[in-house]
């Protein structure tokens, strides 16, 4: 058995499992976010459920609508609070941060464990080799009540990176490039295992970005190998027995930064293909790229050259811990001095449930994970996805930077 099969077998209390088999597994943790909690509450009421398996192991995160944008959402947030209080669930209030970022900080993603979250980017837990699964409200309710969930044992695939990416390429670029090259077909429903020399030894923040984008690949989960602070994780290697069709080799030698064109994350192209195009808004944050290392790099760029007068640049730390660390180190000061807008920790403007919302015709560079039409609240805006490095440089230049722009700034 490989990594994902061992995790599932242990959680199911059986000796072995095989791909395609459906098993019931014990769940270690369940977490909800503010946008789905009111629906979870409605489902509890509708079906007459009155107990949860363990309130201490269930978290409610207020991250999608940190600053309630209207009365209707404010009412839903109050319902979510009331529900959490009624069942004694762990509350992570507005400003605490994004569920997936905080869950990692809090040690909720235990290696080898099983976590169910009401948000698709729960797969971020794969950075710590936790089988963390995003699910819909009914599945989440079932897990909250029973402490169990059913899963189909996934087929396994490997993404093996060979070669060394360029000095200005980041894990975000790697994920966008892999998605652009292979599409989601080879990964759909599967357990993705990242491996290769440039993946081994990635930091936790970098690994979290790759695990997080597993859902954009279509995967059920995405696991990363050990790295600093994560030495005890299992090494990942397809080995000699892996079916060749399941090992996707990607040559990343000299890989430039990638940028996903509107309106699909799979629309990635090398940065220079659209360098020079106008940029009106920049969003730096999200569960994909709102961690300490991401924002440190963005701050470094904006220290050199402030935000262009034609651009609105918004920075949203992924958690209060990230925010306070950046305050202590001076990066928040650098952002504000550079003319960026720093908002409270949370999902920021990733999904259009709180501002800033782009205007029609706006061209937005975002470090988040999705650029579907209307994603940030306006179907007439165009969203490009990129790394924090590219986004911060774009904010300063008022246009999409070229690779040379990044190299010069990096000197």
């Amino acid at each position: 058995m490989n990594l994902v099969e061992r995790i599932i077998a242990r959680a199911a209390g059986v000796e072995a499992v095989e791909p395609g088999e459906i098993v019931v597994v014990d769940v270690d943790r369940v977490y909800l976010q503010d946008g789905n909690t009111p629906t979870v509450k409605r489902l509890f009421e509708q079906h007459g459920f009155e107990r949860v398996f363990d309130p201490e192991r269930i978290g409610v995160f207020f991250d999608h609508a940190v600053l309630a944008p209207d009365a209707a959402m404010a009412e839903r947030l109050r319902e979510a609070r009331a529900f959490a209080a009624e069942y004694g669930l762990r509350v992570f209030p507005p400003g605490r941060g994004i569920s997936h970022v905080v869950a990692m900080e809090e040690g909720w993603f235990e290696p080898g464990g099983v976590v169910v979250g009401s948000d698709s980017h729960t797969c971020t837990g794969g950075a710590l080799q936790c089988l963390a699964l995003g699910m819909g409200a009914s599945d989440v309710v079932a897990a909250m009540i029973s402490g169990e969930t059913w899963i189909k044992v996934p087929e396994t695939t490997w993404i093996k990176i060979v070669g060394t990416p360029s000095a200005v390429a980041r894990p975000k670029d790697l994920a966008l490039a892999v998605l652009a090259e292979f599409g989601s077909d080879p990964f759909l429903y599967r357990a993705v295992h990242w491996c290769g020399s440039s993946i081994e030894g990635l930091s936790s923040d970098e690994s979290a970005t790759l695990a997080n984008l597993g859902v954009e690949l279509g995967a059920k989960c995405a696991f990363l190998p050990p790295g600093p602070g994560r030495e005890a994780l299992e090494s990942i290697d397809p080995g000699a027995d892996a079916p060749l069709a399941r090992v996707h080799l990607f040559d990343a030698e000299g890989l430039p930064p990638f940028i996903a064109l509107p309106h699909l994350p799979s629309g990635g192209v090398p940065l220079d293909e659209c360098a020079g195009e106008r940029v009106d808004q920049v969003f730096i944050g999200s569960c994909t790229n709102g961690r300490l290392e991401d924002l440190r790099e963005a701050a470094r760029m904006l220290r050199d050259e402030p935000v262009a007068s034609s651009v609105q640049c918004t920075v949203t730390p992924g958690s209060d811990r990230v925010y306070r660390q950046l305050l202590a180190e001076g990066e928040i000061d650098a952002f504000v001095a550079a003319g960026a807008l720093v908002t409270p920790p949370g999902c920021g403007s990733c999904t259009g449930t709180q501002g800033p919302i782009p205007a029609g015709g706006d061209r937005v560079i975002a470090t988040s994970s999705r650029n579907f039409r209307g994603r940030m609240g306006n179907p007439d805006a165009s969203i490009f996805l990129a790394s924090p490095l590219v986004a911060a440089r774009a904010a300063a230049l008022g246009r999409i930077p070229s690779v040379d722009d990044l190299l010069l700034a990096d000197d």
């Binding site: 979250g117 948000d119 698709s120 599945d139 279509g218 999904t351 579907f372």
Partner: protein, 168 residues
């Protein structure tokens, strides 16, 4: 689909390209309300607002690419159901959408290479594994008994509620 049924029938409405759950229901609607009927008014708001007005109760969707990628929002399924959609046929589905669909009683039929014109009638026999469009019969994978049981039992939570009542 009514309880106990193992077949579904309806007029086909065509959807093109990759469809995300943001395309099906933009996030702000599911943050504003928990009422599926209210959400049903906003399906395909940005993707194709006209599609919503073409739908009549019992219609099904036939997609030519991956359907339901992205966000985990189950409301994408409950909004489709409340708008009267009774099945979705696609070459493949976003994994969370697929689970949500069967959990709520919306048959999500994964089958490649199906073409049809808008308004043709599709008849799906879930137990036998067949899809008939006009007079042409296509084989589809048989639905896993677990999913079929859930569908016939009124959805995941209804089944679970009954189990809990029995256990208590």
């Amino acid at each position: 689909m009514t309880d106990g049924a193992a077949s579904v029938r309806g007029q086909i409405r065509l959807v093109h390209g990759v469809v995300s759950t943001d395309d099906i229901l933009p996030a702000r609607h599911k943050h504003r309300t928990v009422d599926p009927n209210e959400m049903g008014r906003w399906i395909f708001e940005h993707y194709d607002p006209e599609l919503r007005s073409r739908l009549t109760r019992g219609d099904g969707l036939l997609a030519d690419d991956t359907f339901g990628i992205g966000s985990s929002r189950e409301q994408a399924v409950s909004a489709l159901l409340s708008a009267g959609v009774s099945f979705v046929i696609a070459p493949c589905f976003g994994r969370i959408f697929f689970r949500n669909a069967w959990n709520l009683g919306l048959p999500a039929i994964e089958v490649d290479g199906i073409s049809a014109t808008e308004g043709e009638i599709a008849q799906i026999d879930l137990a036998a594994g067949s899809l008939t469009i006009s007079a042409t019969r296509h084989r589809i994978a048989r639905v896993h008994p677990r999913l079929l049981n859930r569908l016939q039992g009124g959805g995941l939570l209804q089944v679970l509620a009954r189990e809990h009542l029995t256990a208590n």
